[in-house]
């Protein structure tokens, strides 16, 4: 009940916002903030009350929804989803605050769409029915399209359409795979019998049952590929990544934050929830270290890391740089998942969460700078360190966290992913460490070009970061430090779930 409340409070908020008069912008913002703070409070409550000692799903709600197809409204959380729900709920109010001053037109529609988006994201992470999962997955697409397409930068329409079509292309393949799973869900030893189902926990059990159609290796491989492409577009995994820089560059700050912080995680979350748990044999086929296909998932992770990092090094647009760095960092998640061991998967999940926090910070910081200077050209700044010391300090913190400095959260996820991956893919992991050096290079180079050196006289009068902006950054910064110093704080939320997942993976 708590969980359902959390998911649908933003939807109620959307209706309330739509009922408010158009002129009272302050009221609209306040109401939106309220309706994003409620899920946050609920998420914190869930996070605290979540029973860490079991791997099973908790707070389960399971009621029939569309009975003709045996579709249920089945939601529940395990360690992985509760972590990401917390992240989503945390970024909600932060994004609302970040949008407080810099959305110039149609604030009411903006906020309403944002709340709809939040419902979609929260629902996605809680859904335990494949159909519901898909519905929420697609539900995020629509508000995102409008948020980029209406409130974005000069090439917003191109970026929005690219984002929409690209994601849709992926989700169509996913839909096909989903239907294939559904149609085979009642086939045992070639005989169809009983009700078909979309229920994820049931499907996981069925996929591990000897003789069941879902447990067939060939079937698993093909369905794995279908789902994988759907999620790969979202992650994004090379070569499906080119929508990301465009979408980020055009999207308003808060939407970039959501895009990098949550939407990318939907891809990797899907990989864990569906691809890994449901199709362990499919996963095995692509990660057994045997030949090209057996290394392919790790190879994609490696390409993401190195390719993303090098591309980031060459960027001169601050936001594009951060966008490419996201691609690089998501590579660590893929690499960790491909390792299929507890270090790798834990590292990957931690990296998902940490990247959500860190990239959110980075995009907020870029937004702060953009609001002042009205451009994002890295070479156009210089010497801001003496003008904006606090801003510089926070940026340095975020950069260091992102480049994997120990003591900050980025390191733990990366290090665990690499440690896990090294066990299986020695050469690829060693090559992936190039990404660490290049990552340091582009962040430090950016730091130098923007903040060090003599102050660019054009920016003599640039105001220091203000209290509202610090308010958006401080929680994330604190989380970065806390998770860097005490990662078990997050890890023990999902360590049981990971153990469970590894048991599934090793059962084949």
């Amino acid at each position: 009940m708590l969980l359902s409340l959390m998911i649908f409070v933003p939807l109620v908020g959307m209706i309330v916002v739509l009922l408010l008069p158009r002129e009272s912008e302050e009221l609209v913002k306040r109401v939106t903030l309220l309706f994003t703070l409620i899920p946050l409070a609920l998420a914190v409550a869930l996070f605290i009350s979540y029973d860490r000692s079991t791997a099973g799903t908790q707070y389960v709600v399971n009621v029939p929804w569309i009975q003709a197809f045996n579709i249920q409204y089945h939601i529940g959380i395990d360690g992985l989803s509760v972590t990401l729900l917390l992240l989503t709920a945390l970024l909600g109010p932060i994004c609302v605050i970040a949008s407080w001053r810099n959305i110039e037109k149609g604030i009411k529609a903006y906020m309403a769409l944002f709340l709809l988006l939040e419902t979609g994201m929260l629902g996605f992470f809680a859904a335990l029915d494949l159909f519901l999962f898909y519905v929420f997955f697609e539900l995020t697409l629509l508000p995102m399209y409008f948020l980029i397409g209406i409130w974005g930068g000069p090439r917003r329409e191109y970026a929005a359409i690219k984002f929409f079509l690209y994601t849709l292309f992926g989700s169509v393949l996913m839909l096909v795979a989903m239907i294939a799973v559904y149609l085979n869900s009642n086939v045992v030893n070639g005989v169809a019998d009983g009700l078909r189902t979309f229920d994820i926990p049931t499907l996981i059990t069925l996929a591990a049952t000897q003789g069941h159609a879902l447990a067939d290796q060939h079937f698993q491989i093909w369905v794995f590929v279908g789902f994988f492409i759907g999620f790969a577009v979202k992650v994004p995994i090379f070569p499906f990544h080119t929508w990301l820089p465009d979408a980020h560059v055009e999207a308003p700050t808060a939407i970039s934050v959501i895009l990098a912080g949550i939407l990318l995680k939907m891809g990797t979350y899907g990989l864990v929830r569906v691809n890994m748990a449901m199709f362990p044999q499919g996963l095995h086929h692509f990660t057994n270290g045997d030949g090209f296909l057996g290394n392919s998932l790790a190879l994609l992770g490696f390409i993401n890391i190195v390719y993303g990092s090098f591309c980031a090094l060459a960027q001169t647009d601050f936001k594009k740089l951060v966008a490419y760095s996201s691609i690089g960092h998501m590579g660590f998640v893929i690499l960790g998942l491909a390792a299929r061991n507890s270090e790798g998967i834990t590292g990957a999940i931690l990296q998902m969460f940490n990247h959500g926090v860190i990239s959110a910070m980075l995009f907020l910081l870029v937004g702060v700078l953009y609001d002042r200077a009205h451009h994002r050209e890295i070479n156009g700044f210089g010497g801001l360190g003496s003008k904006m010391p606090v801003f510089t300090g926070i940026t340095t913190l975020a950069f260091m966290a992102s480049l994997g400095l120990p003591g900050l959260s980025g390191f733990v996820g990366e290090a665990l992913s690499l440690l896990g991956a090294y066990e299986k893919f020695k050469m690829l992991t060693i090559l992936s460490t190039i990404g660490i050096v290049v990552g340091a290079a582009y962040f430090l180079w950016t730091l130098q070009r923007v903040f060090l050196g003599n102050l660019n006289p054009k920016y003599e009068a640039l105001p220091e970061i203000n209290g509202r902006e610090i308010l958006t950054l401080a929680p994330l910064g604190i989380l970065t430090i806390v998770l860097g110093v005490w990662p078990n704080f997050a890890i023990n939320m999902f360590s049981e779930s990971v153990t469970n997942l590894i048991n599934v993976l090793q059962a084949i």
Partner: protein
């Protein structure tokens, strides 16, 4: 008692930094951050002193779980043995003195509080590194000191040279760190732990590896050593350290001379038990080459800080060499003595620079460029635009940057001379340090530590009858001679002779008390006061190094009668013997000779000879001027050029590696923009322009054609049929009636 003490040592500086950070978020700063940080460090120093007695007799480990994943646990913890205790003492002591020195040196800097906060953060990180009992903890401290080094080198970030230097330092060391991380991954995959000590620790597990694993273990050892190569500025990753002199001089003293750069040596020493013969030899060679390369470069520098920087690199090479040949104690001993005398040298140079700078700022008072007013302190010589080149343009920074050979005038030894009368305390203390580093016998600590290394190398060479080690001994000896030469060159050029720049000379003055007191304390420490610990076998016990003696070496070794015995000897006997010879005689302080080892006697005699020769030559060149440095330089022009251009390392890195990386990045980005995105857009365009046109045609002509035909037919039929609809109500009624009649008739018929 141990845990609270270590916690206190760590928490004090961390708290000092945290206060700064939290207040910074509120855009404020603690008014007396300098006292806060210094007090934190002094507390640490006192605790370290107390700890010194705690460690006898047994090392202790205290751990807590940090990350637990099913069967695997990463723990964090303290490991306290004699080496840790001595390192803690060295770090807290030097750090305290540098803090005090900075109160005078940094006075008036607009970012004064920040400087102390960074120093505190550094001290915390360094101490964390020192006390960590596992590789992960060491790595964390390792990277954090790197961050602090970055922040402090770039403290005066308005200078482009500083901004470049800090970036270079971070990136160069990170290359090494990645190597170290790969080494850690290898060890972790093998042992499933990163803890070093105890039953399940790496050292215990590694000791039971068989010979088949030696290649693997050697690679892992060398990779871990890569981290040390980066951090301790060993060839080929040494180029960042001289550039790091862009930072304030106290930073150079603390981070880039005494502590952080020595962390590499400390790490290598910590990894001693898993070093194999091959990896040890690699370490020894890297150390030896570094010692020579850096010393030769130092000969031709004119920037007082660069001379010291290259000297540091060279001395670090020494320490590595010592550890590489198995002289564990000697390497760490040299680390300790070097920390004191090199910190003293840097602080002394800082004192000189400070003296010159105060004058300099004054002389150019009227030329203040107000844009730079807020950072025109100390050696950041803003006034000399010609030398410094403020010609850089914004937005024109490049990852590749030119290496300015411009020397700030207050650091240029060619502007100095005759300062001994002006700055007596600085002069005397620096002279003591110089005598110590040059290896002047018996009364200076540097002599003992350097001799321990030289003796260790020669002993290993004689024992194994190994060409490698004789070669290494030759290199070490040569480096020792050169060291004496360039250090005295520095002293002669700075303090002796006639003032070369009278204007600057007139303004020079002795530094304030807060700066001279640390100098004096460090000068006292340059006498052999710490030797007692190192030559006390009860205090420092070198760890066993089970893999150093591979079986094939046994028959080469003249000591061993049979292979079996050689191997057995290798496990315990020899390493103990080495230790006993180096450390077993606590009477060395008095200058007594090692009775058992001829190697140490030979080494000592030779080292005294080369040091004397070096000092003599230096005196002839730079004081008596009976020999001309210019003419020698001219007659060895190619060699001189090689030294002057620092063996072209920077040119190679910037011109080849960095350029290649940037080129590759641009290539990738272009590829991404044109090929990958091109394909995506191409598919989009193809769909729109080609497929869509085709489908459109099909749609228009075929699909829509059919629809239109159907519509037309319907239309035509409708046109005929509508005539029935007359609109006349009576017609309708008639039809209805007729229909009814018809129906009746039909039903009747049925």
């Amino acid at each position: 008692m141990v845990v609270p003490l270590i916690s206190l040592i760590l928490l004090c500086p961390l708290a000092a930094f945290a206060i700064f950070g939290l207040l910074g978020l509120a855009k404020r700063s603690f008014p007396r951050q300098d006292y806060l940080s210094t007090a934190a460090m002094l507390v640490g120093f006192v605790c370290s002193l107390l700890l010194l007695r705690e460690v006898v007799p047994n090392p202790e480990t205290h751990t807590v779980k940090w990350i637990s994943l099913g069967s695997i646990t990463f723990s964090m913890g303290f490991y306290l043995d004699s080496v840790t205790a001595i390192m803690l003492l060295v770090v807290t002591l030097v750090s305290s003195l540098v803090h005090i020195f900075s109160i005078g040196y940094m006075h008036g800097d607009p970012r004064y509080p920040r400087f102390f906060a960074f120093l505190s953060l550094f001290s915390f990180s360094m101490l964390f590194l020192v006390v960590s009992d596992n590789l992960l903890g060491i790595y964390i401290g390792w990277e954090l000191v790197g961050l602090c080094s970055y922040l402090l080198i770039g403290f005066w970030f308005e200078k482009d040279s500083a901004a470049n230097a800090c970036k270079k330092a971070f990136l160069t060391t990170r290359v090494g760190d990645v190597g170290m991380f790969i080494g850690m991954m290898m060890l972790f995959t093998k042992f499933k732990t990163l803890s070093l000590y105890g039953e399940g620790g790496i050292f215990t597990l590694a000791a039971s590896l068989n010979t088949g694993d030696m290649v693997w273990l050697s690679i892992a050892g060398v990779l871990i050593f890569c981290g040390a190569v980066g951090k301790s500025a060993q060839v080929p990753l040494h180029t960042w350290l001289p550039d790091a002199m862009e930072g304030p001089t106290p930073v150079s003293a603390l981070i880039h001379a005494a502590t952080m750069v020595a962390a590499g040596v400390y790490l290598t020493a910590r990894m001693f038990p898993i070093l194999t013969e091959t990896s040890s030899l690699v370490i020894a060679y890297i150390g030896g080459i570094t010692a020579i390369v850096a010393a030769t470069i130092a000969i031709v520098r004119f920037d007082i800080k660069r001379v010291l920087a290259y000297s540091t690199v060279s001395q670090l090479g020494y320490m590595m060499l010592g550890i590489g040949v198995g002289s564990y104690v000697a390497g760490l001993f040299h680390l300790t003595t070097h920390a004191f005398f090199k910190a003293l040298l840097f602080l002394g140079s800082g004192s000189v620079i400070h003296a010159f700078h105060a004058m300099h700022a004054h002389a150019h008072d009227d030329e203040h460029d107000h844009a730079h007013e807020d950072h025109d302190t100390h050696e950041h010589a803003h006034g000399d635009d010609d030398a410094h080149g403020h010609d850089h343009e914004h937005g024109d920074h490049d990852l590749v940057h030119a290496h300015g050979s411009e020397i700030p005038p207050d650091q240029d030894m060619r502007n100095m001379g005759g300062l001994r009368h002006k700055m007596p305390i600085t002069f005397v203390t620096m002279l003591i340090a110089t005598l110590s580093i040059s290896g002047v016998p018996f009364v200076f600590s540097g002599f003992w530590s350097k001799d321990a290394i030289l003796g260790g190398v020669l002993e290993r060479a004689m024992e194994w009858n190994s060409v490698h080690h004789y070669l290494l001994f030759g290199m070490a000896l040569l480096a020792a001679g050169i060291t004496a030469f360039y250090m005295f060159r520095l002293i002669f050029m700075t303090f002796f002779g006639e003032p070369r720049n009278q204007e600057m000379h007139n303004m020079a003055h002795e530094s304030p008390l807060s700066m001279t007191v640390p100098l004096l304390i460090l000068a006292v420490l340059s006498f052999p006061v710490v030797n007692k610990f190192w030559f006390n076998a009860d205090y420092v016990k070198p760890p066993e190094q089970p893999h150093l003696y591979a079986p094939q070496h046994a028959h080469v070794s003249p000591d061993s009668k049979t292979e079996g015995k050689g191997f057995a000897l290798s496990l315990f006997g020899v390493s103990e013997a080495v230790a006993a010879e180096e450390a077993g005689h606590d009477t060395h302080v008095d200058g007594e000779h090692h009775g058992h080892s001829p190697a140490h006697d030979i080494a000592m005699v030779l080292s005294i000879c080369v040091a004397g020769l070096g000092i003599l030559l230096s005196w002839l060149f730079y004081h008596r001027r009976t020999l001309s440095a210019e003419s020698v330089a001219n007659s060895f022009r190619p060699l001189y050029n090689l030294f002057w251009h620092k063996y072209y390392f920077d040119e190679f890195y910037d011109g080849v590696l960095v350029a290649l990386t940037v080129w590759k990045a641009r290539l990738f980005a272009q590829f991404d923009g044109s090929v990958v995105d091109g394909i995506v857009n191409g598919v989009g365009r193809l769909t729109r322009d080609f497929l869509a046109v085709f489908v459109g045609f099909f749609d228009n002509r075929v699909v829509d054609g059919i629809v239109n035909r159907v519509a037309e037919v319907t239309w035509a039929v409708g046109g005929r049929i509508r005539r029935i609809q007359t609109g006349a109500i009576q017609t309708y009624l008639f039809v209805v009636l007729a229909g009814i009649v018809l129906l009746i008739l039909i039903f009747r018929a049925l």
